[in-house]
């Protein structure tokens, strides 16, 4: 049936969405490629699992803690968080709607039966290896990646390419962490947080919960109580981490929640680039993902944190999909430190996520670059917070939202300048694009300025900087619209192209998008 040529003015079931002419065809194509029917990571892995009893109680927490053989202080820490969580209410201010979550209907811990960590590649269950292979993680170089002796020579080819060390988290546990030995030579600690609790308890104790406190918000508090695994990274003074680090999160078991906790510390003058990727099987039930990421950058340190989030978004009618309720925060604790968040968000049924920077050190810098694409019935409420506390702190926010299908995409951001943050600077730019007339795009930027010498700009084309740049481009014969595209979009594209995206095909295709014809 030619549904769009029919006489009815608007047919709700019509599949072909009329897209206005000014929108770039490649953008529409790129967004379409991300529809749930094209979700390639939706398979399940059949493997025997050890599960905690269903539901959440003090016993569940004791079970998790015991399964991981944790020290007493950590159990106490978890129980304290749980006690606090019981008194908290689920937040409702975000522009997302979802059925009430039954926190007793989930399994809070699921680990492959064969054990959590494997001494050599041979011990990693075949199913898990195959899973990662299928997801495009280069596991044929698995021997190298897993750091097994004798394998180094066979992968000389691989070494010529930039290498990435991977921490693979499968449901609630880290199953493999690669390149550990080589990283150790540089003094870099890269391991699962469960191991770090045993091997570097002092470091963990010193930093855990100092950026995102136990009682920070409902989901972070839940995470503090039940977090299962995650990655721990420590880059010592003056070390530039010799390779990209990454964590690949895979949710597999049914009715489980994933609650990982990542802690990255860059000591003075250290540098690290870290990438996380996430996928999950297609299931009809909603699954909960409530992670916490804490970053600490000391004097002159820099952390670049990139996310390619592609959790199962649910089918086109909104059935199933991941609830992605994540708390990510970086603390620029030292002077001249820098934290940069880059995110490509294409998955999850509901996203509630605001990677933030606390710019505490003088001259510290925070950056947030985001592309969020929603399709089907996805809902994303995402953005950032830049809290300027130190003098001459700078932040930059670039956010691009693309909504298609019947989805809603919200940018929510806060720029807050403390009265002592002399000469703080912020630049914010957010664009949204609607593909079709059944979706929504929303922008909610909050600005709180308490410092007279701070300079904050939100999409202000009147600033001197952009005027000069525009003039420069225009006097060379570039049309105004093209010039703006060059200056703004070109910049973002540039940033994305520098992302370590070896295994993120979906992100590559996003580079095709243009924000021409944006609504606001």
């Amino acid at each position: 049936m030619d549904c769009c040529g029919g006489t009815t003015e608007h047919d709700e079931d019509c599949d072909d969405v009329k897209v206005k002419d000014s929108i770039d065809a490649k953008t529409v194509e790129a967004a379409k490629a991300l529809e749930s029917e094209n979700y390639s990571a939706g398979f399940t892995t059949d493997i025997e699992m050890d599960m905690a009893p269903k539901g959440l109680s003090e016993d569940t927490i004791r079970y998790i803690s015991a399964a991981k053989n944790e020290p007493e202080w950590l159990l106490e820490w978890r129980l304290k968080a749980y006690e606090r969580w019981l008194t908290m209410e689920e937040p409702s201010w975000a522009m997302v709607r979802y059925p009430k979550i039954d926190y007793q209907a989930y399994y809070y811990f699921a680990a492959p039966k064969a054990g959590a960590k494997y001494a050599s590649i041979d011990d990693v269950p075949k199913e898990i290896l195959e899973t990662y292979e299928k997801l495009g993680i280069p596991l044929r170089e698995a021997e190298v990646l897993l750091g097994v002796e004798g394998a180094v020579e066979t992968a000389a080819e691989a070494r010529e390419k930039p290498r990435v060390a991977v921490d693979a988290v499968f449901d609630s546990v880290s199953v493999a962490t690669t390149f550990r030995k080589e990283l150790q030579k540089a003094g870099v600690i890269f391991m699962s947080i469960s191991e770090a609790v045993h091997e570097y308890p002092e470091l963990v104790k010193k930093y855990l919960g100092t950026v995102v406190p136990q009682s920070d918000n409902f989901f972070a508090t839940l995470n503090s109580a039940v977090f299962s695994d995650g990655t721990f990274v420590y880059i010592p003074k003056g070390v530039r981490c010799p390779m990209e680090l990454s964590t690949y999160f895979r949710m597999n078991a049914e009715n489980t929640g994933q609650f990982e906790r990542t802690l990255i510390i860059a000591d003075e003058a250290a540098y690290v680039s870290y990438l996380e990727g996430c996928t999950a099987p297609m299931r009809d039930e909603n699954q909960l993902h409530a992670a916490v990421v804490e970053l600490v950058a000391l004097d002159d340190a820099e952390i670049k944190y990139s996310t390619v989030q592609n959790w199962w978004p649910g089918d086109e009618d909104g059935k199933g999909g991941i609830f992605n309720f994540v708390t990510k925060r970086g603390d620029c604790r030292g002077d001249r430190s820098k934290i940069s968040w880059t995110q490509v968000e294409t998955g999850s049924a509901v996203t509630w996520k605001y990677p933030s920077c606390i710019l505490r050190g003088d001259d510290s810098v925070g950056e947030f670059y985001s592309i969020a694409v929603t399709n089907g019935r996805q809902q994303a409420d995402t953005g950032t917070k830049m809290i300027h506390l130190g003098k001459r702190t700078k932040s930059r926010i670039i956010s691009k939202g693309i909504s298609a299908g019947k989805s809603d995409n919200t940018y929510r951001g806060l720029v807050s300048v403390n009265r002592k943050a002399e000469k703080a600077r912020n630049f914010t730019q957010c664009d949204s694009l609607l593909i079709g007339d059944r979706c929504g795009a929303h922008t909610i930027p909050y600005v709180e300025n308490r410092c007279a010498s701070a300079q904050l700009e939100h999409e202000a084309t009147t600033t001197k900087l952009s005027e000069d740049q525009l003039f420069y481009a225009r006097q060379r014969g570039i049309a105004e619209e093209d010039a703006v595209a060059l200056l703004v979009n070109g910049f973002v594209r540039d940033v994305l192209q520098h992302l370590p995206m070896e295994f993120a095909v979906e992100a590559q295709s996003l580079l095709k998008v243009s924000l021409e014809g944006s609504v606001g």
Binding site: H10, V19, K20, W93, R419, T428, S432, L434, I435, G436, D437, R438, C439, G440, A441, H442, T443, I444, P445, Y446, V447, E448, N449, R450, C451, A452, S453, A454, Q455, L456, E457, H458, E459, A460, T461, T462, T463, V519, G520
Partner: protein
């Protein structure tokens, strides 16, 4: 009834109990009750409510008390205007009215739709009236050939409430001004404008208040097809002052201009809040808000453009907020928000916040202009743009008031 209401507001403050008592003295009226219940649902708005997070009336207004400061003088000329005066206990209006303006002072309250969205507007609807004051003043405008209508809110007292409804008939233009001059501990005014097809409105608001006064002015503007409204506000703030406008484009081709300037000094808080619903195709909104804040002052700007699916197509809307923090200790909060469900629209928003340009200051100073004067000149030039839409009869007055503030 009163007891039930007392129970309805959770942990009522002294001020809220006094408001309940005032309501109990009003004649019984279903519409009035509905308006009061809409207010009672939240009580005085407070910082835990998203729309009021930066303007906390519950905290600012502990009790209804006559403030120490007297009303300010009205700079807006009264000569040649039809002047209406609302005081906490009194009310005055012109003895005779020219043809083309008709006033219906109704004994009963008019229904207020969407009262839950404007709690202090609902409160004004519930408490307006008593004594000589009309419960609801309905003004019908049928001629464009009228003198300016001027509404003054002043006089000493604990609290003052007013509700005015304008019906501007098809093709007719109305020019009106309002002066909020302080004097009452709490003032809540609700003004509703219904513009019929191709009607025109030019509304200019001047506001001044003391450091122990609370003020909430709620304006509701409905625009029919091809109508146009221009609103210009100059606000100096009070302990807490909220100038809120909610406009709805109901017919295609409507055009709305919402300009405002706030100048906020020590102990004063000026809040400019707007919500525009683009409920018909092809409507245009232009919004410019400028602010300058001194040590100890607070400026708030909250703007929202709502563009519904289908009916909002071809909306052309632009929202700009620019604020200057002139001294350390100044505070500015802003939230320029867009909620868009239609794909073929253009909604721009911009927001800047900062100090005066050092280079410009240097330029003036090296020409021998003292710092204070240079600062005033630059700030005036910055603010003036937002006031340029005011009616000819008051534009210079507003500029002069801004100048006085800047150079004092």
């Amino acid at each position: 009834m009163t007891t039930a209401l007392r129970d309805f507001i959770k942990n009522p403050t002294t001020a809220e109990l006094e408001l309940v008592a005032r309501y109990a003295m009003q004649p019984e009226d279903g519409r009035r009750e509905r308006a009061f219940l809409a207010f009672a649902e939240t009580g005085l708005p407070h910082r835990r409510m998203e729309a009021w997070k930066w303007s906390d009336f519950k905290a600012a207004l502990k009790a209804l008390e006559t403030p120490a400061s007297a009303s300010a003088n009205d700079p807006v000329p009264h000569d040649g205007a039809l002047v209406f005066r609302f005081a906490p206990t009194g009310f005055e209006q012109p003895k005779t009215l020219p043809e083309g303006v008709r006033i219906l002072t109704q004994p009963t309250t008019q229904a207020l739709s969407g009262a839950e969205d404007v709690p202090l507007g609902a409160l004004a609807a519930a408490l307006a009236g008593g004594g000589a004051r009309p419960s609801t003043m309905v003004i019908e405008i049928t001629s464009s050939d009228l003198p300016r209508l001027h509404f003054v809110f002043d006089g000493a007292g604990e609290a003052s409430f007013a509700r005015i409804i304008f019906l501007v008939r098809s093709g007719v233009s109305l020019t009106m001004t309002e002066s909020y001059l302080g004097g009452a501990g709490f003032t809540a005014a609700l003004l509703e404008f219904n513009l019929e097809d191709a009607a025109r409105l030019n509304r200019t608001i001047y506001q001044r208040g003391g450091t122990d006064e609370a003020l909430a002015v709620t304006g509701l503007i409905n625009l029919a097809a091809n109508s146009a409204a221009v609103q210009t506000t100059l606000a100096f703030g009070a302990k807490v002052a909220r100038m809120e406008t909610r406009a709805v484009h109901q017919g295609s081709g409507a055009k709305l201009t919402l300009n405002a300037a706030y100048l906020s000094g020590k102990g004063l808080h000026a809040d400019i809040t707007t919500h525009v619903r683009h409920g018909a195709p092809g409507c245009v909104t232009r919004q410019l808000t400028k602010g300058a804040v001194l040590d100890g002052g607070t400026g708030v700007f909250q703007g929202k453009f709502f563009v519904p699916r289908k009916t909002g197509q071809h909306t052309d809307a632009d929202m700009q907020h620019q604020a200057l923090l002139l001294e350390d200790g100044a505070v500015v909060f802003a939230k320029p928000e867009l909620e868009i469900y239609a794909d073929d629209v253009e909604c721009a928003h911009g927001n800047t916040c900062g100090a005066l340009d050092d280079a410009q200051m240097f330029y003036l100073r090296q020409r021998g202009i003292p710092e204070t004067q240079a600062r005033a000149m630059l700030t005036e030039a910055f603010i003036a743009e937002a006031l340029s839409t005011a009616d000819d009869s008051v534009r210079d007055v507003l500029l002069a008031e801004a100048q006085n503030w800047l150079s004092s």
